[in-house]
Amino acid sequence: MADEKTSSTDGKVVDGAVEFDGLVCPVPLQDYPNIILGHGGGGKLSAELVEHVFLPAFQNDYLGALGDSAVFPVAETVGGGRRLAMSTDSYVVRPLFFPGGSIGDLAVNGTVNDLAMVGAKPLYLTAAFIIEEGFPIAQLKRIADAMGAAARNAGVTVITGDTKVVQRGHGDGCYINTAGVGVVPDGIEIAADRARPGDAVILSGTLGDHGMAIMSVREGLEFESEIRSDSAPLADMVAAITQACPDVHTLRDPTRGGLAASLNEIAAASGCGIVIEETRLPIHPTVQSACEILGFDPLLVANEGKLVCMVPAESADAVLNAIRSDKHGSGAALIGHVVADHPGVVIAKTAIGASRVIVTPIGEQLPRIC
């Protein structure tokens, strides 16, 4: 956490124009149950926050060095890869804790998965926190611990970071940005425009779990059984896929916008059509019921631990088996094919043998009136 340890010019309160450089309170962290503006001031309070909250959660030598930048070796052995992949994402989910996860593991898994979707092995992450004054430090610690556990689980290391505090009312508790770096093994070329007519379309598991888990807690909706977020790292699954089929054409993790948005992006980029069969879509019964009640289409609901891939038809069985052998892929299914017809258009065969076009959602789905 480079600029937390110093009182560099970067360590100032960004919202409200209150300069806290030089205002250093000697009271130890444990006397403050909540974040105060001084925790973003770059002074001792900031240093204590790093020492008490972030270092124990992320424990590694790169971060422990507390330099202005983390210095890390370029991994030379990862599949002989000579290309780096880099991605960044900000996390503003509300509520911060939900069944199956928290903003902490989303912030790790989301960026890890973005790297994995180009076939990269994720290696290092950054973590930047924007915290609202008054936020409980115990909750921040829970979030950091969840990030640390998620990072270890995904095989990545959080090697540098930043903390800013904004005045009460100017944030929503805690926002996190992570950026990640990974190495792409030689010979792997995964991109949306590589989907080809004849490719099998494989989905790694049930649709809509994350979005409906968030929705059910946010709106206080109770269903027969709890809906849990599917937040999970997918890099191991991707490694298994590329091992089974080095020529995998396209990978996407259908997060916001759901599978509908991902498939439309792929259809547009590749100039191909895509046909999926509704009856083959794996959807958890409780998620299906919740969607029916609210008038949501599971195809448009966010996922945080699923991927969809386009692979040559002859590799479909091998890839399905590879995904199913991963602990996050037991529900994988072949859901359709890439076609030469209707370029750029995604079509679903309905249960009654008719068809409909799947379009990209505009924005948030709105619960319908009846």
């Binding site: 909706l221 008038g295 309905t350 008719a354 409909r356 076009v357 799947i358 319908r368």
Partner: protein, 375 residues
Amino acid sequence: MKHLTEYRDGETATRLADQIARQVTRPWAIMEVCGGQTHSIIRNGIDQILPDEIEMVHGPGCPVCVTPLEVIDKALAIAARPDVIFCSFGDMLRVPGSEGDLFKVKAAGGDVRVVYSPLDAVKVARENPDREVVFLAIGFETTAPANAMAVKVAHDHHVNNFSALVSHVLVPPAIEAIMNSPGNRVAGFLAAGHVCAVTGYSHYRPLCDQYKVPIVITGFEPLDVLEGIRRCIIQLESGTAELENAYPRVVTEQGNVAAQVLLDEVFETTDRNWRGIGPIKQSGWRLRDAFRNFDAEFKFDVSAIATRESTLCRAGDVLKGAIKPNQCDAFGKQCTPRTPLGATMVSGEGACAAYYNYGRLVPLAAPDANVTGRA
């Protein structure tokens, strides 16, 4: 869940469609009244497996679509007030008024909240005693009992900072209006199952007798809709005009009596303007005088509102079944779910949105006849 898969079974659907095809000997136009049925027909492609002789005409039964423009404008004016928390069902937020929609009011600082039940709005009122909480109470007979309950709870518990902007509409007067319209082509109706679950259905019999039109009370799943069509076609081909209940697992003749008692206590019938269609006599419900203190139209001075409707939008012709959504010149061009000119492009149950969202664009960019819609 079993319920869902059971009524979406592909083999049974094909069998029902075959039976319908064997019955039909000439062209018929059948109107599904409810927007939920329109959604189901387009989403599942039910019209694609029907014989060519049968044309499904999409009726005016999307509550979001027919809510009059002046009510939307009143909602926008009330929601913009700093002392107001404005509560609404989600799909009303994007309905265009004369100037903008509730999303724009929210972005400009209005406190607009989506609720899942009108009673949640009463709860918001209790939690915010220093602010006025207004609920946009729209819909057909289906949503009316919950809305009536919210007003009654607020009344009985003196939650005096709660009020409802009421614009309820009723199905039977709309059926009458359609049958009375000079260019009417509709020969049979699929009545809205969930409306009848509340009201019962004996009051539909006089409509069958007067207009010599078969009315089949119908559900919403693919097999429900197909069964409704099958029964309607059998009647049309045999020249009968009777009331049938094809949705007995939900609808009984007497309906939900407790709800009816509540509705009668809280609401009285009134003339109502239907967006895109025009005024229909005694086609709506408003709050009775006893509940006037909970009527947002009385609480807030919003009477002097001038409305302005898009000149391109032909939602009225769509709602009357005169044209299909994709026959409107603005469809998919000036008018999309992102930039709706009319309310029918907003709600998932609006015919225009259903056509757009499920790709019934004209022409559909898909040459493969096996996988495209007929539209």
